[in-house]
């Protein structure tokens, strides 16, 4: 039972590579650079690692990616896993790795994910690779881009609840406001709701600034048992809750376009943690496109269905709001290298819970909810993290 995991495993090291446009490193180099940085942050050597989890790269793929990274770094783990569930991968593997630690399969795991969508691929190749998420026979022949697949969700959601383009835009503006406080973010120029609405239409109703970035970059986290974490260099951040939900893989098979399996993953995570949405000091929510944040806010229990647009427009996601969200700038403004994208939400949550987030620190942050999803609102994973083991 997942409840047995609560507070048993902690994140003790984090590392973000340079992000944005990083032409001097390939995807493999970024993945290993993230590990090096996370080990340094944790005060550990590579010989302390006995578990490794990665996800494959689109720019520099290997058939057995995690095994290749182990070879590249010359580590010899007893737990070695290449995972894949799109943008939800990073969070999904966290509780698998935590389970491996709690059951004694291994002691210390590094999860590292990186890609080079901006510098390692042509624009057309990056678009084609990402849109291969469509069903090869029953979707991709119709030429959908990823924004178009999310555009189908956006239209259905807006028509169901009367959500306005301005309310979607408020999500992008909130992320950009936070990115301005993050020296590492890819996009830091201030934007307004009017700027979002004036940006060119990509897949109606999604404008360019409703869409996340295309980036290079990677990040890693080091996990170990709560006992070992107590004596380590950094303030441990404990895994308190985790839950998954899987509704469909292809959007044409979705049972609902307006309610996602985040409602299941979120419920499972809060049940495991013994905490509720009201206990969260901040949130990091997967924001590949602006309407996704609204649907997640509702499905995770922060708002009633249809009310997230007004909730965001009222400023609740700001650093001084009731639920500071996407404090690093998110996929919309910090960076989005594809499948590794949510890793940065994880490293940001750890920075916040260490009280080391500088100008964008959420005051007295003790507990956070982080959520990622992959595919086209397909595979969801919610994590609850805290400064205390529970």
């Amino acid at each position: 039972m997942l409840g047995a995991l609560r507070g048993k495993v902690a994140i003790v090291g984090i590392g973000d590579t340079e992000v944005g446009i990083v032409p001097h490193m390939g995807a493999t180099g970024l993945c290993v650079d993230a590990i090096r940085r996370a080990l340094d942050d944790a005060g550990l050597a590579k010989t302390d690692l006995d578990g490794l989890v990665t996800c494959n790269s689109m720019a520099d793929p290997y058939l057995y990616h995690a095994e290749m990274i182990a070879e590249y770094l010359q580590i010899f783990p007893r737990y070695c896993l290449g995972a894949g569930a799109g943008g939800g991968t990073s969070f999904t593997v966290l509780h698998h790795a935590a389970s491996a630690i709690a059951t004694g399969v291994c002691k210390t795991v590094v999860i590292s994910m990186a890609d080079s969508l901006r510098s390692g691929m042509t624009r057309e190749r990056a678009m084609t690779a990402q849109s291969s998420t469509g069903h090869p026979q029953f979707e991709s022949p119709y030429g959908p881009t990823v924004p178009a697949l999310y555009g189908l969700i956006a239209r259905a959601y807006m028509e169901a609840y009367g959500t306005t383009p301005e309310q979607l835009a408020a999500v992008a503006v909130n992320s950009r406001n936070h990115a301005q406080l993050n020296p590492l973010a890819q996009m830091r120029e201030p934007i307004t709701v009017e700027d979002v609405l004036a940006s060119r239409m990509i897949a109606d109703p999604l404008h360019l600034l409703d869409c996340s970035l295309v980036s290079d970059g990677g990040a890693a986290v080091v996990l170990t048992s709560a006992e070992r974490a107590a004596d380590m260099k950094q303030t441990p951040v404990y895994l308190l809750g985790a839950g998954e939900g899987h509704g469909h893989e292809h959007i044409s098979q979705a049972h609902s376009l307006t309610t996602s399996a985040a409602s299941e993953s979120g419920k499972r995570a809060v049940e495991m943690a013994g905490l509720g949405p009201k206990d969260m000091d901040f949130a990091e929510l997967y924001d590949c496109f602006t309407p996704v944040v609204l649907i997640e806010l509702e499905d995770l229990g922060f708002c009633k269905k249809g009310e997230a647009g007004a909730f965001v427009e009222a400023g609740n996601l700001a650093l001084d709001g009731s639920l500071p969200t996407n404090t690093h700038g998110g996929l919309l403004s910090h960076c989005h290298p594809g499948n590794p994208g949510s890793m940065f939400a994880l490293t940001e949550a750890v920075q916040q819970l260490r009280h080391a987030a500088g100008d964008r620190q959420v005051k007295d942050a003790e507990t956070a909810l982080v959520h990622a999803q992959g595919g086209i609102m397909s595979s969801h994973c919610t994590l609850i993290l805290g400064r205390e083991p529970g």
Binding site: Q137, S140, P141, A148, A154, R155, E159, I202, A203, I251
Partner: protein, 139 residues
């Protein structure tokens, strides 16, 4: 010879070959479960409702309504960039199954959710004809 060789052509598998063969004949076949009587799309070897293993091919009416749509101002690749904007849509057929397609044969600005649409096949090659949808005749 393919008319549009760079597009993403579907590659039929054993379970989908009858569907694509029917499309080639400008006929829309979907599966109907002999056990529970429900339809399903896309084709599978089991019924996704009751896990029954006896599936029959039934001709669909080819009529349905738009559940959601987006007007794509940016194409996924040059092969799709030819004819201006593309309308991508999810369509619920009268048989209560949902499929993705493009809406053609009308001004994209005319498209709306709930719109009644009917099938029209587009011949892509000697083997592949793609099911597309256009606004249903208004009587």
């Amino acid at each position: 010879m393919s008319k549009q060789p760079a597009k993403h052509f579907p590659v039929p598998t054993p379970e989908t070959a009858p569907y694509w063969e029917a499309c080639h004949n400008h006929q829309l076949l979907i599966q109907k479960c002999a056990d529970c009587g429900k339809h399903q799309f896309y084709p599978r070897t089991v019924c996704s409702h009751c896990t029954g293993g006896t599936l029959e091919w039934a001709e669909a009416s080819g009529r349905g309504e738009i559940v959601s749509y987006t007007i794509m101002h940016r194409a996924v690749s040059k092969a799709y960039a030819g004819g201006g904007v593309t309308v991508l849509a999810l369509i619920r057929l009268e048989e209560d199954v949902q499929m993705m397609s493009n809406i053609i044969g009308c001004d994209p600005e005319q498209v709306c959710t709930g719109m009644s649409v009917e099938i029209i096949f587009e011949d892509w090659s000697d083997e592949i004809s793609m099911p597309m949808f256009r606004p249903a005749d208004q009587q």
